[in-house]
Subunit: 634 residues, 2 copies
Amino acid sequence: MAEYQVIFQPSGRRGVIAEGTTLLAAARSLGVSIEALCGGARACGKCRVIVAEGKFEKLGINSAMSHLSPVTAEESRLLTEDERERGYRLACCAEVRGDIVLTVPEESRQSKQVILETGRERLFAIDPVVKAFPLTLSEATLDDARDDARRLLDGLSSSYRLDGLSLNWEALRALPETLRNGGWNVTAIVSERQESREVIRVVASGSAAVLGIAIDCGTTTLAAYLCDLADGEVMAKASRMNPQISYGEDILARISYARSEKGGREKLFHAIIDAVNDLAAELTSKAGFSMSDVYEMVLVGNTAIHHFIFDLDTSYLGRSPFAPAVRGALNVRARDLGIKIWPAANIHSLPIEAGFVGADNAAVILAESPYDSDELRLIIDIGTNGEIVLGSRGKLFSTSCATGPALEGAQIAFGMRAAPGAIEKIRIDDATKEPRYKVIGMEKWFPDIEETSARGICGSGILDAVAQMYRAGIVNAAGRINAKCDSKRIRKGESGKLEYVIAWASETAIHRDIVITQADIRAVQLAKAALYVGAEYLLEKYGAERPDRVILAGAFGSYIDKESALTLGMFPRVELSRVCAVGNAAGDGARMALLSREKRMEIQREAGKVAVVETAVEPDFQKKFMNAIAFPPI
Amino acid sequence: MAEYQVIFQPSGRRGVIAEGTTLLAAARSLGVSIEALCGGARACGKCRVIVAEGKFEKLGINSAMSHLSPVTAEESRLLTEDERERGYRLACCAEVRGDIVLTVPEESRQSKQVILETGRERLFAIDPVVKAFPLTLSEATLDDARDDARRLLDGLSSSYRLDGLSLNWEALRALPETLRNGGWNVTAIVSERQESREVIRVVASGSAAVLGIAIDCGTTTLAAYLCDLADGEVMAKASRMNPQISYGEDILARISYARSEKGGREKLFHAIIDAVNDLAAELTSKAGFSMSDVYEMVLVGNTAIHHFIFDLDTSYLGRSPFAPAVRGALNVRARDLGIKIWPAANIHSLPIEAGFVGADNAAVILAESPYDSDELRLIIDIGTNGEIVLGSRGKLFSTSCATGPALEGAQIAFGMRAAPGAIEKIRIDDATKEPRYKVIGMEKWFPDIEETSARGICGSGILDAVAQMYRAGIVNAAGRINAKCDSKRIRKGESGKLEYVIAWASETAIHRDIVITQADIRAVQLAKAALYVGAEYLLEKYGAERPDRVILAGAFGSYIDKESALTLGMFPRVELSRVCAVGNAAGDGARMALLSREKRMEIQREAGKVAVVETAVEPDFQKKFMNAIAFPPI
């Protein structure tokens, strides 16, 4: 059989292709992504390519429309006359009959821009685990009394070349009815993972929404995204508190609860599963769909949360040698976990790295892909547990730090979440020690207005307050409030310790003075020291003085004043312009794993390469930590 | 590297093997089955082979003990001195260092005799889907903080060369605790099926019972077997009525109930699952085990029962073109079906052939393996639905016949199950028309005793009665009772139709006359005609006059008088010596599929080749059926 040169532009991929091969098959064999929603069934008209006619001397090839099979009836129908004149063909129809150069126009390329939380964009092919395949099957007759399952699988094979699929029990149960009620026009929902390739549902054609949910399960907050798996669009967002909080504010408290209380582990498991179900219900109802339209869910969380979600034994997570039950990516059926989306849907967790460096950190790494970067990046994901990654192409280190909840506004005298009424920014005059502050939900700063709706201080406000108090000499390098500092705002609090008044009762909505206490400052010191020491160890392991770039991930990271963070020494000193915030990168990474099989594989590969550093067992940890407590760190 | 000739006797398999290869690995590469329970971990001492020393001229080889590596410590421990002197070695220890001839003694061969229901034996390798692998793992330390799942999978890989396994969620949940409580000595329960290879449970070593259950789910009766998957032994048997009977005596009634009653399908599903659970509880309790020790279950049943068990839509089974929801072998997790054995256990159904020719028939075919036979076999499985197979190597036909429940003693005036008190054999004197009969549970025949415990007539008794009535001239060729026949036992019954008294009230335990009515004879006629016509069509399709052998399967088949069956024309006339009964062949086949992966594959392959004949749609069906009603068939 004759063979010809085929070149695809703009990628320039080329190869020798046998006569009679369709352009779609040729593209696939050369690794060129062309959109073909119908899988090459000549039905969707998406796989448009443009024939480049002429002599391409550099490429050493003569290309002509006549080097392809004649225009088919489907192409006449799916392409306009104008398009056909401009050289458009459908890759699924046109067959190679000579050397040819083709351009794959932007709209036919499988890659799509996906907008991340912070508005940044990422380019990757939308290629989710679950896809819908419309089918028209022939009716069962006495002469063709194939069983319904075989008929469906044969249809998927002949229309989409999907071979070797199995049919999940859940899909099988309603199959006879669905086939006959739909007049043999149905849509098969197919899940293709490495370990299993199966039809998970069959619905009447025309009604198939194929949705997925990604949830970043934080120690304190769950942030969920409902996505259309066909195009990656976020259809709804929702968040809520992690209800496990009632069993312990921090992770160690919850691990202890799970181990020591009767039925503790079950309670923690059910609490988070209930919250996941509530989120799924809220998301689908917001977007006008049913929970059973959700066919895949990606959950990420730190190692303990991950273990709680999958009802795994957490007893040994908190003790040396901190071995998790499982590190690899997990896949469990929704039905088994009691998650009330489509029962045969898969619940996927990204791999965890080790000990406390969890799947949420893997998601951050996927979103920020430092393994593809030449510059040395320090990625700090600030939550109730801080997780830090340092590295560049070929070498990644990570660790987790017990920052405590201070930076989220918890366990702070007047701490609150970053919600309307929270003081989020503070400046203190060096001379007068008088503050100016801004409240979320109000445009102007106090005292440019007489009254505020202030009810408390959120994480970024606390960080600002402490940094400004240090700059103004209210707090010394050791973090102690200076009693000799001349200001009526410095006073003894109820506990007998000093405090600084940010807002007088009359200015606030709560009619109480809003203060920063000595204990609050201590909490900020502990948090920032934990992060600083973590980064220090990673730099030491990597063998670098300082990172090229500092990336602040997590909601908190997006709001803090970078200068305040630098002032306090939350991370090693770099130029201000080299610090950037990327929002909920864990959520972004979870969405990427939801939408792209390649990205899912990528993080399984890369997470295994991350070297995890357990700082707590380093011999000089205490010394380093004490040094890092100071402003700035010693 | 040097290579040597290795020959295994008695199979005579030989090959060239690299120096240093263990005999076990050599045997595997040459396709010689050697028992190695521990998988080659030098622990079980089962893989004994005997070195044949000397010059084997015919084989062209010199064999000597010195052509193997020295005796290892494990061999010294696991073999007696006497054995070692007789040339015994363990195949997992001894390595090839020269040409060698070995004998694999009977006890080391992997094939085992499995006793079938009727006491017949079948030879096949016990190689179940689920096996236990004992492991000793190294403790987790800070230097080796692999996750528990990885540690376990690494252990299975290094000790047993089991690679690429996944770890089921159910196994993962208790893994951390089990590893540490067991001092890192555990047993992994591994399920290896074509579609999935996974660890389904991890238990502390020493406690691992690996059990399986096979159930033949008949329309009327469920027969269950608890087997030790390690050696195939039947540890307990149990049976009970199919509780679906309360929703319809026959299959069509149940299909109609499932379709037309609200929640009908669910009721039928739950009824049979409850019965399966009751049987599993009874079996494991009898044998002193727990339900969670059961890791695999094989269920067989006719197509409708199969669909009810798996909660599949049966609406279209009863109408042309009779397409089932699925034909292929099914695998569903116990947890999903609500079967309360180990949750991650697999529930397997043999493939169904088509329409009404179900997985029970596939099991019969597996047990009787006509596809391996040169003689033409007619296999009749008589139940509420009769299923018939005809064929030999390379060509098999099957069909199902609506025999009705008459042959099981149901819907017969004095019909009852084959239980104590049932008249099971009857002889009628040609001249006097007086009967002699035998009651189950009594040794002597009436009238050799004065009274009996007779309460009714079971299937074999009914068949005997009708055949003897025909021979004695009480019934004519058309099946009508002859009013002119001179006997006080022939009389008008309550319905106004004639009947024949088998036992007077005074002889019975119920103090009522036990009779055979004209309607009873009609029911027997319909049943036997259905079977006869089915066999006739199969012979026609096959192109043969008569079978070489008639095999009667099912409990009924074991008890009937073959001569009566031949007299009435229940199947095409063959010599009496060519009719044999094999008991519950469906149950035997289900057990074989439980114990042998090869057998499971075999029936998946062979069931697909069976040509299913739908007799009801044949144009001359009515004519043939009317002819078959007569004694003997016309």
